[in-house]
């Protein structure tokens, strides 16, 4: 299960969170294979909510949140976070990859529009932003 962090205040729409991968501790390829993936969305402040990735549009990751699963102090997720499996996300949109001097990544275009960047440290960094 992917663990995602996002600003859970920014849930616009009916129980929808649209998130994007910001960085990951392991290579993540953004593509249709993520649809149906169960995720735990964390806000970094001890709040958690289960969700399912229900679609991607031009890199957008749509997550349907199960607000009934909202909880705090999720020890299971925390344990996984410690294990280095966390995927941090921003909200709304995966935009084209950004490279910078601080992040000397080499972008690799994948098939069918998938993108992946792997840094020398093995971290994956995908650019992200809010969608309108």
């Amino acid at each position: 299960m992917l663990q995602l962090t996002a600003d859970l205040n920014a849930i616009w729409g009916e129980n929808w969170l649209v998130a994007s991968v910001r960085r990951a501790s392991r290579p993540i390829v953004v593509g249709e294979h993520l649809v149906g993936q169960a995720v735990v969305v964390a806000d970094g402040e001890g709040e958690f909510c289960d969700g399912i990735i229900v679609g991607l549009r031009d890199g957008l990751v749509d997550i349907r949140l199960d607000l009934e699963s909202w909880r705090s102090d999720d020890t299971q997720v925390r344990g996984l976070l410690v294990s280095g499996q966390m995927v941090s996300v921003g909200l709304r949109e995966i935009s084209p990859i950004r490279t910078s001097a601080q992040s000397p990544n080499v972008p690799m275009e994948q098939s069918s529009g998938e993108r992946q960047v792997t840094s020398p440290s093995g971290m994956v960094e995908l650019d992200w932003a809010l969608a309108s």
Partner: protein, 121 residues
């Protein structure tokens, strides 16, 4: 080309209107949230829920999220600190517009404008 955040055409909130930010509102998480909106909108926006009511409970019940702790302020307090409140996305979502990157003075003002973390009001 930055996108425009979708704005609702609504009158300005009265100064007494309750504004709620879900969560503890740590500086780190605020900066993460701001980074997202700068990337997309070229604006420093922080998500809150707000309504013209003066009842905290009424505001929070309108929010989709279920944070166990929240920070509470008013539209008037935020404006006094120089922060504009913009009705964005779907009600009751509002965005606090910060004038620029979050520096220490701005963070102190923002932090002071909200109550300490309190349980779901």
């Amino acid at each position: 080309m930055p996108a425009e955040p979708p704005r609702r055409d609504e009158p300005e909130l009265p100064s007494t209107a309750i504004v709620v930010r879900g969560g503890m509102m740590f500086r780190e998480t605020v900066e993460q949230a701001l980074a997202v909106t700068v990337q997309r909108f070229d604006l420093y926006l922080l998500s809150v829920v707000a309504h013209s009511t003066q009842k905290k409970r009424e505001v929070w019940e309108r929010a989709p999220s279920k944070h166990t702790k929240v920070r509470v302020s008013t539209a008037g307090q935020l404006r006094e600190c120089g922060f504009e409140l913009i009705p964005t996305f779907d009600a009751p979502h509002y965005s606090i517009l910060l004038p620029g990157p979050l520096n220490l003075d701005m963070w102190t003002a923002l932090d002071d404008a909200f109550s300490p973390p309190t349980k779901d009001p």
